[in-house]
């Protein structure tokens, strides 16, 4: 998709983006992009074929339709480390499945309200319409979104890490109170092996 070759000059609208890339060497956002099989995925393909460059920050996932976008996907992306989510589909009235892109639009509007109430900037969830012919447009939109998210900074949602936020210290603190003769109990199986592993050094340091 994104051409890595240095030969292709940036398209006219894209030139302004180059400076932004150079400045923000410290933070490269991770953006999950959901694309529609019939339009925006092909637009991305076209951008690649035409050697139109766009930011490599976006990880494109192909769905059969933007209407397939379950809000769960978006929340999971945020919870597991994405800084932004880009949803793209066919222009209104051009859906391969007649009107499912309107469903995507409505879910998007509703999701933006919910994530805003939870403290996630609405600009971290964006919707872009792009037909299969609009490779350059999609590339420009991806660059625009990437720049906006760079501006916003990392999201660093700690949902997963909240599991063992301080439980290593917790048992030590409890032991100090003489609460449990048996010492800190093991968490059988652990709530999440990933975080159990992350917790290990802290627990060892406590000993």
């Amino acid at each position: 998709m994104s051409t890595q070759t240095p030969v292709a000059p940036a398209p006219v609208e894209g030139t302004a983006q180059a400076t932004g890339v150079a400045q923000a060497a410290t933070f490269e956002p991770v953006i999950i992009g959901f694309t529609c099989n019939w339009c925006s995925y092909r637009a991305a393909d076209l951008a690649g074929t035409a050697r139109t460059k766009y930011e490599p920050n976006v990880r494109l996932i192909r769905l059969m339709c933007s209407g397939r976008l379950d809000p769960t996907f978006v929340l999971k992306a945020f919870a597991e480390g994405a800084d932004a989510v880009l949803v793209s589909g066919c222009h209104p009235g051009e859906c391969h499945y007649i009107e499912q892109n309107y469903k995507a639009l409505r879910r998007f509007r509703l999701l933006q309200r919910t994530i805003e109430a939870l403290g996630i900037e609405p600009a971290r969830l964006q919707l872009v319409w792009a037909s299969a012919a609009e490779g350059v447009r999609l590339a420009n939109e991806i660059n625009r979104v990437t720049d906006e998210v760079r501006e916003l900074g990392p999201l660093n949602w700690p949902a997963g890490n909240l599991v063992d936020l301080d439980s290593a210290d917790l048992d030590t603190a409890w032991e100090a109170t003489g609460g449990d003769a048996g010492g800190p109990p093991e968490i059988p199986g652990g709530a999440n092996p990933q975080h159990a592993a992350a917790k290990l050094p802290a627990a060892e340091a406590a000993r």
Partner: protein, 357 residues
């Protein structure tokens, strides 16, 4: 769910004489039951007692070792037990303080089966909405509001040097957690509170398995509930799926008693909520608020509900869509009333970022 409840009544009298003949001599050999309410309102304990005469069957079948709501029990007695000595522990609250987390871990170690009992333990429930605020905000609200007489602006302290020694108070955790975010759980019984007949059905299934007269439900099962949605149990008629306006129940004088409440514009959480309650709220003319938690296979309750609501909004233009969605005044309260702590995002940003303590 009613098929599950019916055999209950038949099986109960049969179980009684067996338990009686065992008598006090075998009391020591009875499986041990612990019921522990962490951050909860006590409604789950009431729901357990509400199984009426079956409570005698529970007392016959189990040696109740801990149930702070109704009987005296010492944590030190639990600490003295061998690992796995308790057969079943029902935890009916969520994890808010270091004390509840410690006890949940202790009970996990001492128990063969740990059940997340009710909405608090399984998904955070109403106490989980505290995850929209930081500890400081919560404590300020509790200790300095117009309804609190606190002229000296007193705040809780966790350690206090008394003449006899240092006293410790349970410390407030940064966020509220569900039971399964703290310890491994074996079963979930959903509901706020679980319907009493469902509680008995679930307990009976485990009792039967222990007697060797029934299969043990597979680990991770949701007991005492259905595997579909509240809509599936709801008697209301569903005709068209187009909503041009969301209304709040107090804004409308009356609703059609026969037709789906969602179709009439009331945000009803039935489409995402697990069945098992008997669709009591919609039958009484009130929308489902989702106390039975996520339906089978749903990862994030709010996401499923947002998807369902957005699908049926009868609008295609952004401004039109926004007008309809304006009818949902509090999206998080609507979509995560019972499940915020157990959701994918778990809390709002202010809960973990502005924790200015």
């Amino acid at each position: 769910m009613s098929p599950a409840a019916k055999p209950t009544a038949k099986a109960a009298p049969a179980a009684k004489p067996a338990a009686k003949s065992n008598g006090a001599a075998r009391a020591a050999a009875k499986p041990k039951l612990a019921i522990f309410g962490a951050a909860s309102c006590g409604g789950c304990d009431i729901a357990i007692v509400n199984i009426h005469e079956h409570i005698v069957d529970v007392a016959n079948a189990f040696d109740i070792v801990l149930w702070p709501t109704i009987m005296d029990g010492k944590y030190s007695d639990i600490e003295a037990m061998a690992d796995g000595e308790i057969t079943i522990t029902l935890v009916s609250g969520s994890m808010r303080t270091d004390e509840t987390i410690h006890l949940a871990k202790l009970l996990r170690r001492k128990s063969q089966f740990v059940v997340a009992f009710g909405s608090c333990a399984s998904e955070g429930c109403i106490p989980g909405l505290a995850n929209l605020s930081s500890r400081k905000q919560i404590i300020d609200t509790a200790f300095t509001t117009s309804s609190t007489d606190n002229p000296e602006n007193v705040r809780p302290i966790y350690e206090y040097q008394a003449p006899e020694g240092v006293l410790h108070l349970p410390e407030f955790e940064p966020v509220l957690r569900t039971l399964d975010q703290v310890v491994e759980i074996d079963y979930t019984i959903p509901g706020c509170p679980p319907e009493s007949k469902q509680i008995w059905a679930a307990l009976e299934a485990v009792v039967k398995a222990l007697n060797g007269t029934g299969p043990l439900p597979p680990k991770g099962s949701v007991l005492g509930a259905g595997d579909s949605t509240v809509c599936d149990e709801c008697a209301r008629k569903r005709n068209v799926k187009h909503i041009s306006e969301f209304v709040r129940i107090q804004q409308v004088a009356s609703f059609d008693p026969e037709i789906c409440l969602l179709e009439q514009g009331l945000p009803c959480n039935g489409p995402a909520t697990r069945n098992g309650c008997g669709a009591l709220c919609p039958a009484a003319g009130a929308p489902c608020i989702g106390c039975y938690g996520a339906a089978e296979g749903v990862i994030d309750y709010g996401a499923r509900l947002m998807s369902a609501f957005a699908s049926v909004v009868d609008a295609t233009k952004p401004e039109e869509i926004d007008r309809v969605l304006d009818g949902i005044a509090d999206p998080v309260g609507q979509f995560y009333r019972f499940s915020l702590a157990g959701s994918l995002l778990r809390s709002s940003r202010s809960a973990w970022q502005d924790d200015g303590e």
